[in-house]
């Protein structure tokens, strides 16, 4: 990979057959993601992507970069570990709505507390596709999508509000078939210093017969900036009011706002917190440390560590 080469969306394409259903929103997301990485001119060997289980998880194999397809609900812990060990990487985590907010909800909330510089893409079609259409944590109460025997008995979580209250410092929402706009959101999320969420609304043409492409595109969606909405926290003192504003916006359900809800770079990301404790961290993060000399002997000064315990 020559660094000077200008990257294009095709640079991130693998020749693996994309096995999503025709009309799946994932196609739009895949196109937007490839375009976003090309816009940022990120070499594939500087980007690690961790995906969960479900249709969304397959995207790791369709992207030419480090594509690590992990377990159901667990992309965030992997992504955090990789980013802290090798901060030079651009790290992406991908979950479906079930992956990220059902089985992985504990990681979602706790990731917010750390604000590691990772971009989290949440593919949200409100159903579990690969297991034939169960309700996901983002399907509203009493909605009956076609595979459900009875209307949904659970209420929905609001990913944007949850992210903001958990400590994510960037929260945005996109729509899978506004590809160029989604690309811009992903670019902003990757450029953000800290943990960023992009919730991506998408139809599931096979199992969600309520929130269809037509439904989304019947004039419901509007862009936050078109109404003069300003998501940026410029001073720590305005964090709370900006959060409240963002949460209120995220709760609108007659109309669907997309765009950046919240952006705060006044909260230190985790790497800065580490640096305050480990001054050598930026130059010598874990992945960059030599652990053995040429003779294979450990480089650690063990005598110094042992001194405290010496009794004779």
């Amino acid at each position: 990979m020559k660094a000077a080469q200008k990257l294009t969306p095709i640079s991130y394409k693998t020749d693996i057959f994309v096995e999503w259903c025709p009309g799946c929103g994932d196609f739009g997301i895949l196109a937007a993601l490839r375009a976003a990485l090309a816009d940022l001119n990120l070499p594939p060997n500087k980007v690690a992507m961790f995906t969960g289980i479900g249709c969304s998880g397959r995207i790791a194999h369709y992207m030419k970069l480090y594509g690590i397809h992990v377990l159901h609900g667990r992309p965030l812990p992997f992504a955090i570990g990789a980013k802290l060990a090798n901060p030079e990487l651009t790290v992406l985590a991908v979950s479906g709505d079930g992956d990220g907010l059902g089985i992985g909800a504990g990681h979602f909330v706790n990731a917010g507390r750390r604000n590691v510089d990772v971009t989290y893409l949440l593919f949200d079609n409100r159903v579990y596709g690969l297991t034939k259409g169960q309700a996901s944590p983002t399907l509203p109460l009493n909605v009956k999508t076609k595979a459900l025997p009875k209307p949904n008995i659970n209420d929905a979580v609001n990913p944007i509000a949850l992210a903001i209250t958990s400590g994510f410092t960037f929260a945005a929402r996109g729509y899978a078939f506004q590809i160029n706009y989604l690309k811009e959101l992903i670019v902003k999320a990757i450029e953000h210093r800290g943990l960023s969420l992009v919730q991506i609304l998408q139809p599931c043409p096979t199992y969600n017969d309520i929130h269809t492409k037509d439904w989304y595109e019947a004039g419901r969606i509007y862009r936050l900036e078109d109404e003069g909405y300003d998501p940026v926290v410029r001073d720590p003192a305005e964090r709370d009011s900006k959060k409240v504003e963002a949460i209120l916006r995220s709760m609108e359900d007659d109309r669907i706002p997309i765009g950046v809800f919240y952006k705060d770079e006044t909260t230190p990301p985790y790497d800065e917190r580490i640096r305050a404790r480990i001054p050598s961290y930026p130059e010598r993060p874990p992945a960059a440390q030599e652990i053995a000399g040429e003779d294979g002997l450990p480089v650690v000064d063990l005598n110094a560590l042992l001194q405290r315990y010496r009794v004779r």
Partner: protein, 636 residues
């Protein structure tokens, strides 16, 4: 050297400095040139319930606890009531005369079963059901009862000191107890002072006061009671460089030595001590004067802990986690991912009493088969077990080498006994340590992360440090892309599992097992039973019964040949384990077709003493007992 050891025990309510008192006493003895073996028993409780520490002191290396106590140091009623029975005839009990009137029945924290037993004994022998009664009982069988007026002595020390709050005096009870003990045992006062200095070094005021306490207590006790139990801990001449540390620190130092630079964990007893220690050492010096560091991160659960460690491991960082049974249960899905995706990772598994929450602060070896089989499907893993504090250090390095060489999860089995065992060790042989990195891709050719090779090992790449690759928990092709092809599935399973055959060939026999002794009666065991077994062997040897002992260190791949050969070389096989079902015996039968003649099992949450094993081994042989469930006399 069991016969040449003495046992000192301190007890008290948790939060009153029992543990610190024991560490200071142990260190003082070590300064005087003695070897130490310390065993901690405590409740899953922060403050108030009973805890105690037994320090066994010897001229030569001590490997286990004695169950008979030479000197009991107490400052509360429960310690006297619970432990006076364990004090040998001719031994001593240090007590606070203010508590002699206390009724045993009204000690609120004492467990009912033990209380009934103690009261029954006192009744039977005609003593009052009070501390005074218990002390009289001891005294009548030759135990020296040594009153130490804690509060008066502390007040006296406070008079000489400035700014000591009278309300807070009793926190120094542990220092009174250990000073009085040193005086009785004629352990030189200078060692006590030095030990106290190390303990409180940073806190000047506390240090000064405690030094005054030592000065106030030592001489009067020494004058009146010095040597009364016939034991004098005079300075031992030794030129050996020696260290005193608990198992969890030894394991943590081994991790650092072996190159671990990332550890994620969720707090759980008894694994958290290692993690806390590593965090306290997150920056350290390198031999060339440079700065090294480790990231220690406290995760939201154990699933996340191992997930973060795996994420770090994918970057080529040596990464690990530490946990105990409940946490390991949560980790098993990830363990399968690590096996499937061939990511090197070390899980330090500190076993404790299970199942479920079980006995969270007590000892057990109940997770052998779980460490071996936990997780769905079949994937290669290495399971390595350490027998003591010293092994924990070297094995922590070895575990990391094996994980990287064979690209799989390595479970390093330790347990609560080793975690909290305090042990004197010779200087570690640092020249012996070797870090062996795995096989990495070399430039040239199209990179396939899971290239099918004869050895099963496919050259590694790392996130950000080599060619791009894909990894997945799904079955995959050589590139790491998903496949459900039956032919490829078979080849990939074979490839992964081949690594274990290679490991079995490559790992030297003397790492897989350790053989001790040459007798015709064979003991087989694993983990922290090592010390009591070796000490029991020594004592039985002196009585004319020669034993052999095979310590199985590598659990997977199982050392079939070594175990078979051992079984052939002896007439009887006794498996000694701290679990209910004899898990290693089951495994040996399954893997090597070797069957146990006798099982000595213990699962009451307390480690074996060597004396207990001497009795148990004699009993199974003499009475031909197939399965013996062991317990000590007066176990608390």
């Amino acid at each position: 050297m069991p016969l040449n050891t003495i046992s000192w025990r301190i007890g008290g309510a948790q939060g009153t400095g029992v543990d610190a008192g024991a560490t200071m006493f142990a260190r003082a003895c070590a300064f005087a040139g003695y070897h130490i073996y310390g065993e901690r028993e405590f409740h899953s409780n922060i403050k108030g319930l009973h805890s105690y520490v037994t320090i066994t002191v010897g001229v030569e290396r001590v490997r286990s606890s004695r169950e008979d106590v030479h000197l009991l140091a107490s400052y509360d009623a429960e310690t006297v009531a619970s432990h006076s029975w364990a004090v040998r005839n001719g031994g001593g009990i240090i007590y606070d005369p203010r508590i002699v009137g206390e009724k045993i029945d009204s000690i609120p924290t004492m467990n009912e079963r033990l209380k009934e037993e103690v009261l029954g004994r006192l009744r039977e022998r005609g003593y009052e059901a009070t501390i005074e009664g218990a002390l009289e009982e001891a005294s009548d069988r030759g135990v020296k009862t040594i009153p130490v007026p804690y509060l008066d002595l502390l007040k006296k020390a406070a008079e000489k000191s400035e700014g000591v709050k009278l309300s807070n005096l009793m926190v120094a009870s542990n220092v009174v107890a250990l000073t009085a003990s040193a005086a009785v045992l004629r352990l030189d006062k200078s060692h006590v002072l030095r030990s106290i200095e190390e303990q409180f070094g940073a806190k000047r005021r506390v240090l000064e006061f405690n030094k005054l306490v030592v000065e106030t207590v030592y001489n009067p006790v020494s004058e009146k009671y010095g040597g009364v139990i016939g034991i004098e801990l005079q300075d031992q001449e030794t030129r050996e460089e020696r260290y005193l540390l608990p198992g969890y620190i030894s394991a943590a130092l081994g991790k650092l030595a072996g190159g671990c630079r990332f550890q994620a964990y969720y707090p759980i007893t008894p694994a958290q001590d290692e993690c806390f220690f590593l965090e306290s050492q997150e920056t350290f010096k390198l031999n060339d004067g440079g700065d090294g560091s480790i990231i220690v991160i406290q995760s939201e659960d154990e699933i996340s802990a191992i997930g973060m460690a795996l994420g770090a491991a994918l970057t080529g960082t040596r990464a690990a986690t530490a946990t105990s049974g409940p946490g390991f249960s949560l980790m098993t899905e990830m363990l399968g991912w690590a096996g499937m995706s061939e990511v090197p990772i070390v899980i330090t598994l500190y076993q404790r009493g299970g199942p479920s929450t079980g006995l969270p602060t007590r000892h057990e070896q109940g997770d052998l088969l779980f460490a071996l089989f936990g997780g769905h499907g079949e994937f290669p893993r290495i399971v390595l077990s350490s027998g003591d504090v010293e092994e924990a250090f070297y094995d922590a390095v070895l575990a990391q080498n094996l994980a990287e060489r064979y690209q799989l999860p390595v479970i390093h089995l330790l347990d609560k006994a080793i975690a909290n065992m305090l042990s004197t060790l010779p200087a570690p042989d640092l020249e012996k340590l070797r870090i062996e990195r795995g096989i990495y891709e070399e430039d040239g050719g199209e990179y396939r992360r899971y290239r099918i090779t004869g050895s099963g090992i496919s050259p590694l790449s790392t996130l950000g440090g080599g060619e791009i690759f894909w990894a997945t928990g799904n079955e995959h092709d050589e590139y790491g892309h998903i496949t459900e092809d039956p032919v490829l599935r078979e080849r990939m399973m074979e490839k992964r599992m081949r690594k274990l055959e290679l490991a079995s060939k490559e790992i030297p026999s003397d790492i897989k097992v350790k053989r001790y002794g040459g007798g015709r009666i064979g003991i087989v065991s694993w983990g922290s039973t090592k010390g009591p077994i070796l000490d029991a062997m020594e004592e039985l040897g002196e009585r004319g019964l020669e034993l052999s002992f095979l310590q199985v260190k590598l659990i997977r791949p199982f050392p079939k040949e070594e175990v078979k050969e051992f079984a052939r070389s002896v007439e009887r096989l006794i498996f000694v384990e701290q679990n209910y079902s004899g898990q290693l015996a089951k495994l040996a039968s399954m893997e090597a077709g070797v069957s146990a003649d006798h099982l000595i099992l213990k699962f009451n949450g307390r480690p074996f003493s060597y004396q207990e094993l001497v009795r148990d081994i004699s009993q199974v042989l003499e009475k031909n007992v197939r399965r013996l469930v062991s317990s000590r006399r007066w176990e608390v």
